[in-house]
């Protein structure tokens, strides 16, 4: 496990600084008597700001940090596909674009299925599916192209 933790730490540092365009990040074991039971702590430094308790981070900073953590794991241990349901809710426009660019860069080796209601995230995908309820309470799905999608996102 310890060897794997070192690999994830490396991947997390790299992924975090890519997504945040700077800053620092690290994962480390809690100081605790039993290293087989010690939890893993996350410490991050947002570019320009000081390292501080995770609780003081903003909503968007927390979301992007979690996204960096997830992607750092996926880069090491890809899964056949990823399923994300509106994980971009707290991101501003700039971070949303960073997030969708990151997905695009990984889409050649993993399939992504991403639910979003944000206009800019729609640009990350080549394939768009619109879910609607033409009859109340009953879902229907249609494949759409990107220009139709922009008016349907609701």
């Amino acid at each position: 496990f310890h060897a794997f933790l070192l690999q994830v730490n490396e991947s997390f540092k790299r992924t975090f600084t890519e997504i945040f365009d700077g800053g620092e990040a690290q994962l480390k074991l809690e100081t605790q008597d039993n290293p087989l039971e010690a939890g893993v702590e996350i410490e991050v430094k947002i570019p320009g700001k000081k390292i501080q308790a995770l609780s003081l981070l903003s909503g968007g900073e927390r979301a992007l940090t979690c996204i960096a953590f997830i992607f750092s794991l996926l880069r090491l241990k890809p899964t056949p596909f990823c399923l994300f349901d509106e994980i971009d809710a707290s991101l501003d426009e700039t971070n949303l674009i960073r997030f969708s660019d990151f997905i695009k860069s990984m889409a050649h080796r993993m399939q992504f299925i991403v639910v979003t209601h944000r206009q800019s995230a729609i640009e990350a995908g080549e394939n768009i599916y619109g879910v609607t309820m033409p009859e109340k309470g009953i879902s229907s799905v249609i494949a759409i192209n990107i220009s139709e999608a922009k008016s349907l996102a609701g």
């Binding site: 933790l5 695009k104 879910v131 309820m133 879902s139 609701g154």
Partner: protein, 165 residues
């Protein structure tokens, strides 16, 4: 391996059979509030063998069966079928295409299928166990679940890493 096709009938807000063909790259799902996007995500999780209905926002197992609208009666069964491309043989099965199916009836009875033959729930969980799928924590993140990485205890993060490795 990738998710090629998803067939849903009678599962939550999907009444008549809905079929979606996904592509290997990035697939974006959009739509207004309450139209069924998260229900679609639930269908995939359910077909992968999700055993705890609370992870699908339900209280009883039968909550996933379409329970009617003002103009349509409830159904007696929910069925989800997923076809995965297994060309790279990531799944420990000798087929280049693998189809998993899951049914539940109002009685609470369930049925599980692997390439048309009836299997147990455990068999479905087993074929996915090497892939990192179906395990909570990193490849499937439901609505509102993203912050669990930071909100949980350090020990929860360790568990996520242990499952990934």
């Amino acid at each position: 391996m990738y998710l090629k096709r998803l067939g849903i009938r009678g599962f939550k807000s999907f009444v008549d059979t809905v079929e979606i063909n996904f592509s290997p790259g990035t697939n974006i799902i959009i739509g207004p509030n309450g139209c069924g996007k998260s229900n679609l995500v639930d269908a995939i999780r359910w077909a992968l063998g999700e055993s705890n209905v609370r992870n699908l926002r339900g209280l009883k197992n039968e909550d996933v069966i379409f329970n009617g609208t003002d103009s349509r009666k409830a159904l007696g069964m929910a069925y989800v079928e997923m076809t995965l491309d297994n060309g790279d043989h990531i799944l420990p099965i000798d087929y280049s295409e693998v189809t998993v199916g899951r049914k539940i009836f109002r009685s609470g009875e369930s049925e599980f299928y692997l390439n048309k033959s009836r299997v147990r729930m455990r068999d479905i969980a087993d074929i996915f166990s090497g892939t990192g799928l179906g395990k909570r924590g990193y490849s499937i993140i439901g609505q509102g679940e993203l912050e669990q990485v930071l909100n949980g205890q350090p020990i929860d993060r360790r568990l996520i890493l242990e499952e990934a490795s």
